[in-house]
Amino acid sequence: MARFAGGKAPFLRLSDEKGKNTNTIMRDFMIALLPVVLFSWYKNGIQVYIDGNINFFEMLYPLFLILMGGFLSVVMEGIFFYITDKKNRNLNDILRKLSTSYAAIPGVILALLLPVYTPIWVLMFATFIATIVGKMLFGGFGHNIFNPALLGYAIVGFTLSGFITDAGGVLNGSEILVDTYAGATPLGIFAQFRNTGEAFSFAALVEPYGNLWDFFIGTIPGALGETSALAILIGGVWLVARKIIKWYTPVIYVGTVFVISWIIGMIAGDAGLWFPTYSILSGGVMFAAVFMITEPVTTPTNSLGKIVFALFLGVLTVLFRFVGNLPEGVGTSLILMNIFAIPIDTYSGIIRTKGFKKPGLSFISVLAGIFLIIAAYTIIASVNMYTAFLPIINIWQVI
């Protein structure tokens, strides 16, 4: 008689097979980031070097910055493990913990969100916020509420953006020489228009940077990773093909931004498709759609929740972009929605099994109400609709 090991049913696990577990998922995320990393190195390093505007070492700087982001966050998590766990301090234990913590991914994503001339010490601070504050203090991988990379990016954006601008900012060595760029990203230009209340036009928003094709390829000024929709799409197709992400999450998010921007453009008097296209191709919309709202830990788990999340996020992005004060709406809206991922998860779980009945119904109707109000407010506020409505209101003698 032999004594056998115990265990819980099921005794077959897909994850025990090679290449079907979380390690593979995270490896595939890294592979998906590869085209983005390479393009941003090409655009900010190699191309500028070929133009003769920087020297050889400056050419390597974008790649160095991105790799440094991954490296720093791994090192920081290692130190965190060393400090917090007194019993397991030898190298093997720490390496084992790091292997299931996947620290490099938020680091690389964080670096891709930052401008090309970010000083290393700013990156270091951002990585600290991202991995230690945003992830490890919440309990490590799988327990964080906020997307770590996004948290690091947001804190740096609120506090240290001046240092980045002083160090050279968002324009790379070649772009700084182009007069029409006026020292700003497309969304920066847009914010100026929005704040002064001038009507925007194709000539003012797109033409300084070429045409919309340039926006798609990514040869416009912007943060390291977010400019090229093409490279991001390649990564996205890879992730969908590997069944790591659901195709509809990015599509719904980008679609929502597209449709609401279109409506805003129409009301503002220009129904051309250029405006919504410009809206989704500028800033971090595409990058967030593929790499951040599909990040499994901080977004809802089930399919219904993912759809609700993407819809809501799209509305909030437009709201922050067209109504708020900051030029970029993606990061702020995503951080806000990260919190709501938890109730969305719970209630979509109830709705999945019970259907649109009590108790899920009340939640979903409140959510839908907020959704509609925000969407309407966004559209109205962004084009000063109340002036358009005033005559009608006068006729009805409401006021």
Binding site: M1, A2, R3, F4, A5, G6, G7, K8, A9, P10, F11, L12, R13, L14, S15, D16, K20, N21, T22, N23, T24, I25, R96, S99, T100, S101, Y102, G140, F141, G142, H143, I244, P296, V297, T299, P300, T301, N302, S303, L304, K306, I307, D345, T346, S348, G349, I350, I351, R352, T353, K354, G355, P359, G360
Partner: protein, 433 residues
């Protein structure tokens, strides 16, 4: 009911392990240990130590239910009543009978002449007297299904066997295809139904061929191939696939009775020769077995004897790095000591080495929710259980779970999620009381 697409997934069956060799009849073990338990109900022994028993003699029954009876599966002397390991994972009392190899039959076992004139009530009584329980694994007494007040249109014979590794139904059918059809016919008459449907996996072409050859004599029997997915053998799934109807708790609501194919074969013997449930098919398989085989063995046989017949464990098998699984790999139970006896619910014993690696945390990928056949959200149930939130568990319909184990199977982080859901169900039942 939204975005419900998944209805189970395809799992690598590994059935070819056991399909190589045909069914082996192993009818004369030296000693049998007949467990005194049925569906966690304790049975009262009807024999004393030292009695001589015959094959088919009633040796134990439940006090109040006349139907929970167990028969001797070999003839010989009752040696003792002692504890043995049971497939429920506990030690239970069992009657030890030493086989005298004379195969004396009980007087009740004789050819029945008027098979074609039996009424519905008589057929159900035979089922009761034979102690017939579902041989699929649940061990539910079959006659209770037939005593329903509802009008039954269809009897479905479940030969799907969706769990990986197990092939006992498949090989039992190939051995006795005609008995299956006869048993199915009797079941149809016992239910007063109009037709009987045999559901099997579409890739099992051999079953189709065998049964098609005999289909001329049994025109009321229909064949219904189902897709190769897990859990295709689940009662609700089969009823939906075959009849298109759905029901809440019992298939009788939809006018359907579902029975396992092995039950039908045993029932054919019970009707024609009055042989009660004394033997059943069992697959001994898994990567840890030298020569996996399927046996037809008396209830109470020591599984270790059957494993010896298979050539024992493979060389270099580390028992502490292997599971000894009673039942299918998806829903079965790990047994610690390899000293199990065969009972009426045990369809397979699987010896399977496992690997361990550094399991990460749940990352919230949502695959468990995507594959759930009853559209639950396992991650949320797990969270609600960890917070001991009984109300939320009720909202999330945790008790709808049928413990198929798919959520744990697909989990890329090796989270024991179906175990957590099971604990959630327990908490919900306790809290609801």
């Amino acid at each position: 009911m939204i975005f419900h697409k998944a209805k189970g997934i395809q799992i690598d069956g590994k059935k070819e392990l056991c399909k190589k060799s045909p069914l082996v009849e192993y009818l004369n073990p030296d000693t049998v240990y007949i467990p005194l338990v049925r569906r966690s109900l304790k049975l009262e022994p009807q024999v004393k130590v030292g009695d001589l028993v015959k094959i088919g003699q009633v040796v134990a029954k439940f006090k109040t239910y006349a139907s929970f009876i167990t028969h001797a599966s070999v003839s010989g002397e009752v040696k003792s009543i002692k504890k043995v390991w049971h497939s429920s994972g506990k030690m239970v009392d069992a009657i030890e009978i030493e086989n005298d190899h004379k195969n004396t039959l009980d007087e009740s076992i004789k050819e029945r002449k008027n098979v074609n004139e039996l009424t519905r009530e008589e057929l159900i009584d035979i089922m009761m007297d034979a102690g017939l329980t579902g041989l699929g694994g649940a061990g539910f007494p079959s006659y209770i299904k037939y005593q329903t007040k509802e009008k039954i249109d269809t009897v479905i014979i479940n030969a799907v066997e969706c769990e990986p590794y197990i092939t006992c139904d498949y090989q039992f059918i190939l051995k006795y295809p005609e008995k299956l059809l006869r048993g199915a016919t009797y079941m149809m008459r016992a239910a007063d139904a109009d037709e009987v449907v045999i559901a099997y996996k579409a890739y099992n072409k051999k079953i189709e061929e065998e049964l098609n050859q005999l289909s001329d004599q049994y025109p009321h029997v229909k064949l219904s191939p189902v897709k190769d997915i897990y859990p295709a053998g689940w009662e609700k799934y089969i009823v939906e696939q075959v009849t298109g109807k759905s029901y809440k708790s019992l298939p009788a609501e939809a006018g359907v009775i579902v029975n396992n194919s092995a039950t039908a074969i045993v029932y054919a013997d019970a009707v024609e020769k009055n042989i009660p449930l004394i033997s059943r098919p069992i697959s001994i398989t898994g990567e840890g077995i030298n020569d996996p085989k399927t046996f037809f063995a008396p209830i109470g046989t020591k599984v270790s004897e059957l494993i010896e017949q298979c050539g024992g464990y493979v060389d270099g098998l580390d028992p502490m790095q292997a599971n000894y699984i009673a039942g299918g790999p998806m829903t079965g139970r790990a047994i610690f000591i390899d000293d199990l006896v065969l009972d009426d619910t045990l369809g397979a014993v699987i010896i399977k080495p496992f690997v361990t690696w550094d399991y990460p945390e749940c990352l919230g990928c949502g695959r468990c929710a995507d594959v759930c056949p009853v559209y639950l959200t396992p991650t949320e149930i797990k969270k609600a259980f960890e917070r001991k939130d009984v109300k939320l568990l009720g909202y999330l319909d945790a008790n709808k779970c049928m413990q198929c184990g798919l959520c744990s199977y697909v989990c890329p982080s090796h989270v024991e999620i179906s175990e957590a859901v099971g604990k959630g169900i327990d908490l919900l039942r306790k809290g609801a009381k």
